[in-house]
């Protein structure tokens, strides 16, 4: 799983695929005036009193090629509005969307449709399959819009369906499929056009938990070979942590924190984000690099015991730690020692307890701990 985060420098490179620059979306009267007031620091509530709704406020981010960028927020946080500005379904009140160096907000209707037909595709929360078209015709829809010849679009749609695990279902109808299968069709439809950018609007939220897990795994598997640029909207932080190379947390129209899953988890930007991560299953997110203590003596790996790598998952670390009598050594690709993971740290993360331990008031227990440390 590609949860290893690249160094921050990589995100500002010129090869960036998608950039949002100070996007605003205001509904209602006197929109430009409202944007001005928001820039001067007015809050959403102040505007609402005047009958204007600020859905998205000053949102900027950059998504590099082949990355999954997750926008996480509760309902009403403006995340779906934000997503629809990325492919021009909604026109931003202010700000720009740059995709592959082109300013989408400056395009004519015709050019914008061309971009949507070839470069950007979308997967919807409730699948949005056309009930009057067969599975194959649904998957081939984007190609039909492009004007591809029938033979070509059926071939490519069949291939997209196969990738999504639906080989053999081409002749079926959407309503004959389960929810998970329907969303696979939705995914196939988005992949068939060979678009570079995939917008996914709560695409797995309507599925039951087991199916959702399957779909997440499938998306990650596909992503390893396809390397699409993906913007994924969700209200589920667990999903965001599982999928996102980077995560933006939205609240009341603004992005309150952007970072990797570990950034969010270990260094929540404010109380709002902190309250979110309480329910997150850390063991699924954290890896050795996030957990380890980088201050090493140098000889921790000199024994013949098992070691970990920086991206060893938390659960594996726990298993290792259980088998060893001393902290787990973490070695990088060149087999150099980069850190150690003491068992107390693992247990502390699970219990959300940080800082140094409290000494025990009875001699017997303290001696036992010393023994273990030795």
């Amino acid at each position: 799983m590609p949860l290893l985060s690249p160094s921050p420098n990589e995100w500002v490179s010129v090869s960036a695929r998608l950039e949002a620059e100070h996007l605003f979306k205001v509904f209602g009267r006197r929109q430009n005036e409202a944007v001005e007031r928001l820039r001067e620091g007015a809050t959403r509530e102040e505007l609402r009193a005047d009958g204007t709704t600020a859905a998205v406020i000053d949102v900027s981010f950059t998504v590099g090629p082949g990355q999954i960028f997750v926008v996480m927020g509760l309902s009403g946080s403006g995340k779906s509005t934000l997503l629809r500005m990325l492919n021009g379904l909604l026109e931003p009140t202010a700000g720009r969307v740059l995709f592959d160096g082109r300013d989408l907000t400056a395009l004519s209707g015709r050019d914008l449709r061309e971009v949507r037909a070839r470069k950007i595709s979308m997967v919807f929360q409730h699948f949005a399959l056309f009930p009057h078209r067969s599975v194959l015709d649904n998957a081939a829809y984007g190609l039909a819009v492009q004007g591809a010849p029938r033979a070509e679009r059926e071939e490519r749609a069949t291939e997209a369906l196969r990738l999504c695990g639906l080989a053999g279902w081409e002749k079926s109808w959407p309503d004959e499929l389960s929810g998970g299968m329907q969303q696979r069709v939705g995914l196939a439809r988005a992949l068939a056009t060979d678009a570079d950018l995939l917008l996914m609007d709560e695409s797995f939220s309507a599925l039951d938990p087991l199916i959702r897990r399957d779909m997440q795994d499938q998306l990650l598997t596909l992503q390893q070979t396809l390397k699409k640029t993906i913007v994924f909207i969700t209200h589920d932080l667990n999903e965001a942590m599982r999928l996102g190379d980077r995560i933006a947390v939205m609240r009341d129209g603004r992005i309150v924190q952007t970072g990797t899953a570990e950034d969010i988890l270990l260094r929540p930007g404010n109380d709002y984000v902190a309250s979110f991560i309480q329910d997150v299953d850390r063991s699924r997110v954290l890896t050795a690099s996030a957990v380890m203590d980088p201050h090493v003596r140098g000889d921790e790996a000199d024994c013949g015991c098992e070691t970990a790598t920086p991206d060893t998952p938390f659960t594996t670390l726990c298993a290792l730690s259980a088998r060893l009598t001393h902290p787990v050594a973490v070695l990088d690709g060149g087999r150099g020692l980069v850190g150690v993971v003491p068992r107390r740290r693992l247990v502390g993360l699970l219990g959300d307890a940080e800082g140094p331990g409290t000494p025990c008031d009875r001699e017997r227990n303290r001696r036992k701990e010393v023994t273990a440390r030795a």
Binding site: A128, F130, H132
Partner: protein
Amino acid sequence: MPRLRLGDGVDSGLDWLVTHLSWLFDAVKTVVQGMYDGIDAVLTAPQPLLLAGILAVLAWWLRGLLAGALAFAGFALIDSLALWDEAMSTLSLVLVATAVALVISIPLGIWAARSQPVAAALRPVLDLLQTMPSMVLLIPAILFFGMGVPAGVVATLIFALAPGVRMTELGIRQVDAELVEAAEAFGTTPRDTLFRVQLPLALPTIMAGVNQVIMLGLSMVVIAGMVGTGGLGGAVNEAIGQLDIGLGFEAGLGIVVLAVYLDRMTGALGTRISPLGRRAAARARTGVWAHRPRPTVALSGVAVLALVAGGLGVLGPSSGGAAASATDVGRGREISIGYIPWDEGIASTYLWKELLEERGFKVKTTQYAAGPLYTGLATGQIDFQTDSWLPTTHAEYWKKYGDRLDDLGRWYGPTSLELSVPSYMKDVNSLADLKDHAAEFGGRITGIEPSAGMMGLLKDKVLEEYGLDGAYRVVDGSTPAMLAELKRAYARKQPIVVTLWSPHWAYSTYDLKKLKDPEGAWGEGDGVHTLARQDFAADQPEVGAWLKDFRMTEEQLTGLEAQIQRAGKGKEQDAVRTWLKGHPGLVDRWVPVAGAGHGSRAAG
């Protein structure tokens, strides 16, 4: 509150439209009449049972074997009721009205679905069209398009327009917004979104709208029959005008068969052309009665029947055959006579139809209500009518249209208007006696159509003259309703006083007493006049001269009416022929031709 003269504005607006936009109305009229003639020609070309077969095969294909069998039975029933031509005429009218209504309403519905202001503006207009009483629409339609099919089609389609627009709008708005968004997200143009996503998914709702348009059109057909569209609506009107419940029921049944057929067929067509409906139908299909042929089989069935029909049409006997002679004055010139279904009107109209056909004219007779009849005559749509009661009864019409009409003189008279009671009302002999018996009659005088001239006379003059104003209330209704009420009361020997006139067949059917009018409040008796459109006598000098000289005695008129009554419905002209045969010499007296032989159809 000051009286708002809205009606005057409407009147002058209509006048302006008639004078300035007549080219437009003429164009519309030509198109509609052409469509109607074309469809009617196709429908009436084959043998009735062959066409019934074609329609049955369509039903079989669209709905199944049972539907096909029932369709055939239904159309065979219409044929056996001798209403085939009327039914096909009605079917053509409904099809034309539906086609035009859909051409207008579906684009309007689409527009309304995509634009909120348009939807908001359309809604009250649709309400107006749908709820404005149909007769109110009918008269302007006559002014614009003249009597006949175009006016009927326009009135029908205006009435039927609203559900087409509404259901189209609703259907498109109902399409899941996420699907439309999905189409847009994949770069679909608005036009393709409409045709590839919205319309296919809205189709079931739109087809329900089409269905409603057809049903409303059929229900309007009866009313359209009043403006001379003929067909089953005309038959129904004629039947209720003459209190012929049996014929009315038969014609009504014909409309029901058409309605059920069209309803089921459009419903089935909806499922056939919508992909979703097709799949649902495919799952549901079971059993032999639901068996449906494959489209190719159905198509070839229809084609074979159509070919047979076409073949018979070509090989069949060609009717007619010119009998040119010195008596052929008309040389096929067409004359249209309008009539109100009153006995003397029917008798004189069919008499003149026979006489003029004898002289080589082509004559079309059409039944109207009094209002449309005068409107049609004044606008030149009708050549003449023989049943104008002047100077009293039809005074209102004469006042309004007299300057655009040509009075060809009185051919019968005097007539009389009266209030009548059954003769078992022993103590009531004169209008003056009514006052003391108000309680007995329940203070009710059973009247006829409020538009009738004698009703105005009764309310404004007669009641006042005899001091009946407070004691009696004149109940507006219709002639058939009045006669039905009379029949019911007469059978139970209950007190009743009705408005009646002489000559009338009621006097020979029931034992009635005309109430004496010592004060002469009803005025002098009317004469029955022939009225023609303004230039008719100049256009057809022979006919004009014949009509001016036409007179009938009471013995002749009652004899002819009796002959027609005996012959029964639909055989009026045969009765006239028989009657003329019994009165030799009348033909040459009424329609003299210089050097004419004495050979006539009536005599020969």
